[in-house]
Assembly symmetry: C2
Homo-oligomer: 105 residues x 2
Amino acid sequence: MISSDMIRGYVDTMILYFLMDRPSYAYELSRQIRQRTQEKYILKETTLYSALSRLEQAGYVASFSDESSGKRRTYYRLLEAGRDYYEEKCREWELIKQVIERFIR
Amino acid sequence: MISSDMIRGYVDTMILYFLMDRPSYAYELSRQIRQRTQEKYILKETTLYSALSRLEQAGYVASFSDESSGKRRTYYRLLEAGRDYYEEKCREWELIKQVIERFIR
DNA sequence: TATAGATACTACGACAGACATAGTATGACA
DNA sequence: TGTCATACTATGTCTGTCGTAGTATCTATA
C-alpha cells in the first residue's frame, strides 16, 4: 500500500484521467482507481468527494444529476480548462520524475 | 518551479540521499538540494529544519554540534535505521512511479 | 571600523489536502 | 425482512509545508 503523502497532488490527475474519456461519478471513479492501481492505492471516499468539489470550484469539471440508472448520481464531466489542467499535470509529472530520480540510488 | 504538494513525501528522501555520503547540516543541505534540482525545487528553510527534527525524532538521524569551522553548526548523521528507511523509500518510489504512470497519457 | 551580506538557526502560526468517523438514504437480492 | 452494495454528506483531526519574523555570528569591503 502506498502512503497518501506520496500520492498527494496526483489525486486530481487520477480523476481527470478517467474523465478524459467520459463523465463519471465518485463511486465509479473510486472503483476505477482501485482497479487501475491493482489495489495498491485506494482513494478514501471523503478524499475523492472533496477533490471533485475542488475541481468543480476551480472550473475544471462540471457536475450534473442523472437518475436514469434508477439511483440518483452526481456525474462530473471534464471542461476545456480541465483538459488543459490535466495536460499540464502530465508535463509536470515528467519534470518531477526527473527531479526525484536524482535522489534515488 | 515545482509545487510543494507534488514533492511532499520526498523531502526526507532528498535529505537522506546526501546524508548517505557524510554528515551535513541544514544550510548545506538546502544548498545541495537547490543545486541538484537546478533550482527547480527550492526547499524552504523551515520545512528543512522541521524535517530534520522529525527524522531525528524517528531515530533515523542523530545530531551533533561542531564549531571547528568557526561557526556553530548542528550536523546530522545517518543512523542504521535511517539507511534502511532511505532504501525503503527508494523501493517505494519505484512502485509509486509505476502507479502514477498509469494515469498519465 | 562600521556595515552589508551570507550563514545558521529558532519560534509561532496558518493553511491545504487527505483522512477518520459517522451518518442518511436508496436499490438489489435472497 | 434484512443484508449488502451503492451513493453521498457532515464534521472534525492530523500532518507536512510554508509565511513571517526574529536572533546571532562570521566575512568581506569600503
